[in-house]
Point group: C2
Amino acid sequence: MKSKLLNEVTETLLMGPGPSCVPNEVYEALSTPSLGHLDPHFIRIMDDIKTSLQTLFQTKNKLTIPVSGTGSAGMETCFVNLVEPGNKVLILSNGVFGKRMQDLAGRLGAEVDVLEFEWGTPVVPADVEKKLEGSKYDLIAVVHAETSTGVRNPVEEISKIVTKTGALFLVDSVTSLGGIPVKVDEWKIDAIYSGTQKCLSCPPGLSPVSMSDRAVKKIMDRKSKVPNWYLDLTMIINYWAGEKRAYHHTAPINMLYALNEAVHLILDEGLENVYKRHAEIHEYLGKELEKIGLNFYVEKAYRLPMLNAVTIPDGVDDASIRTHLLKNHQIEIGGGLGPLAGKIWRIGIMGHTARKENVDRLIKGLKEVL
Amino acid sequence: MKSKLLNEVTETLLMGPGPSCVPNEVYEALSTPSLGHLDPHFIRIMDDIKTSLQTLFQTKNKLTIPVSGTGSAGMETCFVNLVEPGNKVLILSNGVFGKRMQDLAGRLGAEVDVLEFEWGTPVVPADVEKKLEGSKYDLIAVVHAETSTGVRNPVEEISKIVTKTGALFLVDSVTSLGGIPVKVDEWKIDAIYSGTQKCLSCPPGLSPVSMSDRAVKKIMDRKSKVPNWYLDLTMIINYWAGEKRAYHHTAPINMLYALNEAVHLILDEGLENVYKRHAEIHEYLGKELEKIGLNFYVEKAYRLPMLNAVTIPDGVDDASIRTHLLKNHQIEIGGGLGPLAGKIWRIGIMGHTARKENVDRLIKGLKEVL
């Protein structure tokens, strides 16, 4: 390679909030020779991606495709296609990614209402039920795995309340997909988005999205065009699933190769085995952290296995520890965001990263520096 | 690799309207180990990308960055940031990508006016001058290299007319950048977007964008938030150029490695040499096509070197020829779009593809099948 900076990239153990470590097979897939985006063999790969994403999302939704952008592009896709000006939207919010939904929905001219919960605590179904008494929303959205706090929101319970009201139910599964069960059909989720760089262990750049038939109907019945050409699903669907596979935009060919490989690796290991591995490594991490005097920030029942918020002990300087780990041990962990900046570390054990030897390496590094 | 379909990918000579062939160095860059999107070394790579894109665009514009999506995401970025509802927009249109601009600007609530020219012919500066008499537009947009027809629009001459009016001047350089001169500062272009999968010979997935200070001022002075969270430059700029490099969305790390390498390969060869290579291979292609009775569709003065529209002879079946070339010779060429479907082939000699041996291989295949 010519670029000096690329030659100087040091392989790093990615234990932050994403990106996560990428298996060699996925790097190999990434650099498979490019095909044209209308090549019949590439169309076969696209079809295979749709099918394997359906398995991953546990859904029969026909509209299950990767959007050509990172996780936030998936969020944008869901909102911009499903929300029309004046629609009533409720966001159940307890972290950065709930706030982001609120910001986005407002930009689209929705009447946005927010039910807020303290960062580090989960959305409380009983509070949602109370909020919905006598109110009527077109769409209700929640983040499954709040990457900013390490909290798992009880999506299955929330769904039972939301779906009674007739609102569309939108879920952010950026960090949860491929790490804990995400059951789109069983939980009656109408729209869901994820990202490739968390538990799928693929580099960032794509956002798997799935929509129920109800959601697709809402999009097809829109009064106005989707105010976003690039993410307009009424056109994108013709490229991904139409009879004629009409060109919309040039698909990110090589990233799609990588996603195809990454999802196959997960399905080959088996979804239940993958969830079990995340749960076990999370347990192991907890025990090892405890030995060196560190504790989880979130209550046990709502802890995410793949994204661990850890309380920074009093008197310990957040940034200098993280810099030391990166510089001297080639390990990346994340800091806190917003009100949790300086108060927590975010330790990711996502996808390929979720292995005992990685936890051991981190603990060794933390021991040295603390 | 586990995925059977990926193992079955056949290396293909990409001579369509993009993607183009990718050099080995770029594939190698693509599969360099992922770093975190806030890793100091990755920030250095981002800085290097900005600088090298400035050289490529021939601009000092501080806001010169790759957007996290394909070329159409660059188009979306320019329009959604620069256009507010009620703004008057004029599109100079002579192909699919002009039409696309028109569609997009309409979605954003602009008053869209279009000056249309026949497909296969260029935008005529005198007609633009006449159209602008007594009219006032906030933004005027044109495609530099119309990929759908193989026409080069005279951007430099158009600029002289547009910039007198005070309108912002927006240019699509998806197919031109890295193949013919694109002089952003000299031509007083206010906003420009490109794609990685044409003359940059990098896989699709990123869109280099550059904005003048006037354009940045227009964005900063907006009355309303940009109605697109993912592509909001007021926030993205903080990640790419802010003091604190604040996280916005997770950058497509590995695609950015590839872009970094691809642009360095071009700058190492030298811009003038790269333009010369495209011009020479275009000349050579023309002569070789003539020998087998094929002619360019576009008048000589406005032909693009990198995207060649070739008239399909009477009685020749477009699709079966292209299928034969792909199946038996592993060569992809493109068909016509819209009114030119079945009438032209689009033969790309973009970036790494622009080599004599590739033209020879194509001519051999065409000879066999015609």
